[in-house]
Symmetry: C2
Subunit: 368 residues, 2 copies
């Protein structure tokens, strides 16, 4: 049985590595043959929306899935009857548009940020008047890792924000002075079974995830996040793994965005949970029973960004798990991650702090 994956980044790579033990084969489609996925499985080289290559991928696969949420929904739609592609295209389409995402949250009764669509300079002024400052102007489409965002702190920022982002469809959003950020990751199988992982506490810097700790959050927060997750999964009759990111403010969840895929904040599940998010995504799209999401302890995941730190030094740390994505170094690029799993949250946090400082002596994440 072959799984076709559109995009061959680190998510696809880890999916393939998780799927081989299940007896699955993989075929990627990506621009670069030497992409992270292409190093561990056969690959078709070309544009991700190339109709001929997508058709070849679909013909040679039993199910097609994605490594990246911004693939062309129109191109995927031509691949065949529903069920050929997972996740559902409706979910991909919503996740690709921040405004559609906000409308979904509203429709499902999931608290989110106040926001307004912005398609002109005048609309931006109106939005800032209504929603207030500070706020964030974001492109509605193709934002990731903090790209396509501009934080407005005063009325003086309107001009440069508009110069930088104006032209594309935009969204102006209140700036939430959150206490911390969490995400919930869950899977729904094609047979309707749902599982979810414990909440992840996420720390970003420069718009990029640096550190995830799990399990995190109170049982009440966990229960609420699970309810919201089930609403989204049910709404789409979703198939596969899906992630919702939240701000937490005064103990309340405020939905930020959804990712219709395995997620960076779930990489800890490779060692820290009984079944990884990657394996559960594959089980879900194949209609297999979903695996236990029980945590094996208290996990921390640290992203390795820009350049890989010396592998040898980190492997000398007992229980550090190393994940090199096989990518070329480039500033701010996610090249790998490492994970630890400890018996207590306190021990986990002590080690995470020490490892973070070793990787990035300038970091202020978690303090010194």
């Amino acid at each position: 049985m072959t799984i076709g994956i559109v995009g061959a980044g680190q998510l696809g790579r880890m999916m393939a590595l998780a799927g081989y033990p299940l007896g699955l084969d993989f075929l990627f489609l990506d621009r670069a043959g030497n992409s992270p996925g292409g190093q561990v499985a056969p690959i078709l080289c070309g544009e991700l929306d190339d109709p001929r290559l997508l058709a070849t991928l679909a013909r040679r696969s039993d199910v097609v899935t994605v490594d990246w949420e911004n693939v062309s929904v129109a191109a995927l739609r031509r691949l065949g009857p529903p069920g050929t592609v997972a996740p559902p295209l409706r979910a991909l389409a919503v996740a690709q548009d921040r405004l559609a995402e906000k409308r979904l949250f509203a429709r499902l009764g999931i608290p989110s940020t106040r926001h307004a669509a912005v398609d002109s300079r005048r609309a931006l002024e109106r939005a800032v008047r209504t929603i207030g400052l500070p706020g964030v102007l974001k492109t509605r489409r193709f934002g990731y890792d903090g790209k396509g965002q501009y934080v407005l702190r005063s009325a003086d920022d309107l001009g440069s924000a508009w110069t930088q982002l104006g032209g594309a469809p935009l969204l102006y959003e209140e700036h939430v002075p959150f206490d911390f950020e969490v995400s919930i990751i869950g899977a729904r199988s094609s047979r309707g079974e749902i599982v979810s992982y414990p909440l992840n506490a996420n720390l970003h810097r420069g718009g990029i995830l640096r550190l995830t700790r799990a399990p995190a959050g109170s049982p009440r927060l966990q229960r609420t996040a699970r309810v919201f997750l089930e609403k989204v999964l049910g709404h789409f009759r979703y198939v596969g793994v899906l992630t919702i990111e939240f701000f937490v403010r005064r103990g309340q969840l405020i939905a930020n965005e959804i990712a219709p895929r395995v997620h960076n904040s779930g990489h800890w599940t490779l060692e820290g949970a009984e079944t990884s998010q990657f394996e559960n995504h594959l089980r879900a799209i194949l209609g297999l029973p979903l695996g236990s999401t029980r945590p094996r302890g208290h996990a921390a995941m640290i992203n390795l960004i820009g350049r890989m730190p010396p592998r040898e030094r980190f492997l000398a740390e007992p229980g550090v798990h190393w994940h090199d994505y096989g990518k070329e170094a480039r500033p701010e690029r996610k090249l790998g991650h490492c994970t630890i799993v400890e018996a207590s949250a306190a021990a986990r946090d002590r080690r995470a702090r020490r490892l973070l400082l070793a990787i990035d002596p300038q970091t202020r994440i978690m303090g010194r």
Copy 2:
């Protein structure tokens, strides 16, 4: 950095899957392109002792290692200076010859079975007189999974044993009425660091390993096995993972054989230990720090032999980890394994018994 692997069976496959996260690439040499390893990494197709292909493998790899201990030592010797190939060829040569193995045990003061070399019918008669009955006549070379063995229970068996095995260099060995079987797996890195895993308790049927449980054995047994392991590793200035199989009789270890490689009885380490035997083999041959061998709980590994049981049914069991080697079904062939890790030995044994019965209702292993 590329690891060349001679042989592309399930051991090589699991090595590659464990090594990708370390940022390694792999290249196999095997007869069949669609072998377990060839499904997850590039492969050179041909005979394992083909000098031209071995030279290509060595040229395109940083280190060459093996998936099978019976590769031609003479062919590997031509590959280049020591250090190019791990494990050391002297260790491979000894593991390929049961008599050399027995002599090594004697030399290192490791208790083993009484035995005699048998090169003629008359030598067999002499050996049976000296060592007694019952006993086992074995080929000195190329035995695996109980193949190349004949159990002699009475003097009447001499003729048929000789008819079946005579011609090849043989060994006659006392039959040990053991209480149970254990193995110890450890690694020595090219920098001299040594780690070992907890003892494995192994159950065979028809000469094939069916079930491994770990950790097993008393602390005293564990300590003694570790001492013996260190003797063997030190003797060869070994590099990589090595396994020693023992009979246990009246609380004493009796060495049966060594395997200069990762071992079927260590497959549980993929989920059941902090670092798997596969990752530690790679760390060892690359001179990287060895990983923690701490067990994550009480693990059982059940081999899937002859035909794969229905995957769906087993994945529905919480915490069952599935490993399909991608091989064609054939009677008595190892096609995969599954693992469970439980919080207590009792819980582990209950589940292992239930899973064994589901896989093979005829099994008498562990009783009913």
